[in-house]
Symmetry: C2
Subunit: 254 residues, 2 copies
């Protein structure tokens, strides 16, 4: 059965943040299970592994070259692509296709020196692509760069991976509301509740708003910053029953 | 006494290279002491630590925020700066100055979002700057981007860190030949002897040519690719007595 493995559930600064002594950062230094690395995942199917973003920089140690079938990128911020800069110089037996949003800049010199990677032409929003074991549909998000959410459909399960985003564009909200209900919503929630939302990311208030709009079977909050992580330590009792906090290493069956 | 710690001695692909089964890469997978991470170092003095390049991506785990006094960058290729993308979001009590070559592009969005780092105005070539415990003089190199070598002088020792480069510009060669002899030369040697030199890097032939021009007390070859590493396994007997191969974790007293 396909499985989604959360490789990282942190924001760009990760948890612990370098030099920070807040409660969440101190706890993460003492207990590696509380670390939050860059927000990303590995989708394991019978065919092999599909990476969802590549912000972790130890991917070469965790995954065999021959096991990686493709990379799905939400956007080209460094916390989502920095792991590719080393991987690209892999010893190339076959190219690894990278599916990406329509962002002509990419990241640094990745387009010019892609190495083992083969950047695919951007796929139009809402157009379903078929891969062995799952379908993929890109969903526009609201972020500071062109960013696509990923609707992943296996024979049994529908999951939407929506990072990085502040709320949802109307077209994406309408599309998801017209489709069968999601089993899983994986959603950007970078910060604790704020009076004014953070720029380009959800705080808890806006994340719960999206959760209530889409009423998925379960919501997993991710892209979690150290302040939200610290806030959760005292206040997580207030979350709706179907909302949980993702953690690094979490695996869910699809 | 000041000490220079080699954090990495590999080329951009590192050793082992992802997916490679050459002898060097196999040995490095079996024996962590043979790994070669991105070419970089930490200069430890009484004052604290000065980073020389920042291609390693675990710097936040290896160095306390308060211990890092500054970063010296040779150039803005990703294998020399990728570690800064996470560090920059550190919890900022004071800024960390970054000394860099005159490269208006930098790397990705580092200049626009420097976080804890404070990029200093480029220092003119051959102009000596004083820091607690050592002096620094930038030396122009020959590479595909603006790149500066680093002449580091402590009260007892003179060391030149020359990566990445193919040979030396005439002005740098003349400057070093007119100065007192170097105690240590740390030199780009990415590849085994080649009929035509690699682009932008030394092969062993060109590295030894520079060694003979400068006649330092000792030369340490670094920025080593897996093919050179594999070649060394059989042929290293041919190196001059004052030339050695750097390895990750090596420490030398300055
Ligand atoms: Mn992000
Ligand atoms: Mn982002
Ligand atoms: Mn390099
Ligand atoms: Mn370079
Ligand atoms: Zn913190
Ligand atoms: Zn190899």
């Amino acid at each position: 059965m396909p499985e989604l493995e959360f490789l990282g559930t942190g924001d760009a600064g990760q948890v612990p943040r370098w030099g920070c002594d807040c409660g969440a950062c101190q706890r993460a230094r003492l207990d590696p299970a509380r670390k939050r690395r860059p927000c990303s995942a590995a989708l394991h199917t019978e065919e092999g592994t599909t990476l969802i973003d590549a912000g972790c920089t130890d991917l070469a140690e965790r995954f065999a070259f021959d096991d990686i079938r493709r990379v799905l990128l939400t956007h080209f911020h460094m916390d989502h692509v920095q792991g590719l800069f080393h991987l690209r110089w892999g010893q190339c037996r076959s190219k690894i296709p990278v599916y990406r949003p329509d962002d002509p800049k990419g990241a640094d010199d990745l387009y010019r020196h892609p190495g083992v990677f083969e950047f695919q032409p951007p796929c139009p929003a809402f157009e379903r692509q078929q891969f062995p074991g799952f379908n993929l549909t890109p969903l526009p998000l609201l972020h500071s760069r062109p960013t696509q959410g990923l609707l992943i459909e296996t024979p049994r399960t529908r999951l939407a991976w929506l990072t990085d985003t502040l709320g949802l564009p109307r077209v994406t909200q309408d599309f998801l509301q017209q489709q069968p209900r999601l089993d899983w919503l994986v959603l950007d929630c970078s910060e604790p509740p704020r009076q004014t939302p953070p720029r380009n990311h959800n705080d808890l208030t806006r994340a719960l708003h999206t959760h209530h709009l889409l009423t998925p079977g379960r919501t997993l909050l991710t892209h979690i910053g150290h302040e939200f992580d610290d806030w959760l330590e005292s206040d997580r009792g207030d979350l709706p029953a179907t909302v949980s906090i993702a953690r690094d290493g979490l695996r869910i069956s699809l």
